[in-house]
Amino acid sequence: MGLLSKKDAKLITDPFADNNPITIQVLGICSALAITAELKASIVMSISVLFVLGIGNVVISLMRNIIPSKIRIIVQLIVVATLVIIVDLVLKAFAYELSKTLSVFVGLIITNCIIMGRFEAFALGNGPWRSFLDGIGNALGYAVILIIVGFFRELLGSGTLLGIKVLGDPVEKTGLYAYGYENNGFMLLSPMALIVVGIIIWVQRSRNKTLIEEH
């Protein structure tokens, strides 16, 4: 972090734990839960949000002095929608199978609260370089949670990671399956994503007692 001042470096490291967009700011939960049954989908979604949030933050920050306050939500929506259309077309062209798995959730990045939330909270009041760092930081915080949830769901649910069978072959009973281990198919279903995120929040708040709510 030699080229970033201490304050700037904080913009990237804060969202990892102390100000994590999903578990602390409670933003961007919709897409975090629905597509994390595969680790690959989580990684692609994280990269998409990184792209949209990073560039979106810079664009809004550059325009911040000329956007009239009354129509700022509409302007933000147009910027985000354009970037998401680009992401959607790129995915359809280079990773068609994955875009079918992600289906409507790529479009739902538009209404992903993290993006609008960071525009309102940061980009409208700060310069382009800092807004870019803030966007990257928050997108990385989002990516951390998505990858953790995707990791556990895919590992425990289908015994694979990124499609590679790491626990042995369930059909031929090699590896762990030879000892009678079975895949927990329930992990692939959507409710388990909620419970895994609940456990992540539990671990996070036990380690950092200042985050505990009173009620």
């Binding site: 578990t23 409670v26 933003l27 961007g28 939960i29 919709c30 897409s31 839960l33 629905a34 939500i73 509409i74 929506l77 147009i78 929608a81 354009t82 998401v84 259309i85 959607d88 077309l89 289906s103 409507v104 479009g107 739902l108 538009i110 209404t111 992903n112 609260c113 609008m116 279903l189 959507s190 409710p191 388990m192 994503a193 909620l194 419970i195 995120v197 609940g198 929040i201 539990w202 708040r205 036990s206 505990i212 709510e213 009173e214 009620h215």
Partner: protein, 250 residues
């Protein structure tokens, strides 16, 4: 019949919160009191009921491949569906603004109680999600689109009402400190989602084969009866084989 099926499907089986997790942010933020939850839920039903049919019309006559044929036959190959995101979100933002103006004019008390949440509905994933799912599932008519919009809204309303009621009650329970508030809400929502999965078998009675399968499943639940039936079947088969061999010999 199709309408009733779609209605129940969108409330229980494809519930916006429990099956596809749309609208979670405002769901978690507003569910601390039942009264605000009811207000927001009603607003979401109204906005979905208005925007899904409108977006259906937009998709049908402007955005789909070949939709512009009504302008003239030379437009038959135009496919504007890549503009769906922008056009859907534009209609939603406009309709929400309109709804806000109407509510402010005709019911100032409702307007005050909803506060900031009425304009925030425009960026609620549930609203855009409703329109996008309508497009990806290729809903066939305007009536069905209206049906889907109202059904999805009622499903979301049920979900937020239930979680608000539960959160009010657990305020006096002994939740571990690190799980209080957000953590326990996630886990409870997960358990409710598991509960809603039980509705998945509700609408299998669409065709004759499925009906017969479910009838057999209800009639023979225990393994012991199956064994007896299998034994009887084997006896019958042996009789048939004996008869056939008799015929062959003769």
């Amino acid at each position: 019949m199709e309408h009733i099926e779609l209605f129940f499907k969108s409330i229980f089986i494809d519930n916006m919160v429990f099956a596809t997790f749309l609208g979670m942010c405002s769901y978690l933020a507003v569910s601390k009191k039942v009264s605000t939850a009811v207000g927001l839920g009603a607003a979401v039903i109204f906005v979905l009921a208005v925007t899904v049919p409108l977006n259906w019309l937009l998709d049908q006559y402007i955005l789909k491949e070949g939709a512009l044929v009504w302008l003239g036959p030379e437009y038959a190959e135009y496919d504007l569906s890549f503009l769906s995101f922008i056009m859907f979100i534009a209609t939603i933002a406009t309709m929400v603004q309109l709804v806000e103006i109407i509510v402010e004019k005709f019911s100032p008390s409702l307007y005050n109680s909803l506060g900031i949440f009425l304009p925030l509905i425009a960026v609620n994933c549930a609203i855009l999600g409703g329109s996008l799912f309508m497009q990806s599932r290729e809903i066939a008519s305007l009536g069905l689109a209206l049906n889907y919009g109202i059904g999805s809204g009622i499903g979301w309303f049920l979900a937020i009402l239930a979680i608000a009621a539960i959160r009010e009650k657990i305020r006096y329970s002994n939740v571990p400190p690190a799980l209080r508030g957000l953590g326990i809400t996630f886990i409870i929502t997960g358990l409710m989602a598991i509960g809603f999965m039980s509705f998945g078998g509700m609408l299998t009675g669409g065709d004759e084969e499925a009906k017969e399968e479910t009838k057999e499943a209800i009639v023979t639940p225990k393994k012991e009866i199956n064994v007896i039936e299998v034994a009887e079947e084997q006896k019958d088969k042996k009789k048939e084989v004996a008869e056939i061999t008799k015929e062959i010999v003769e």
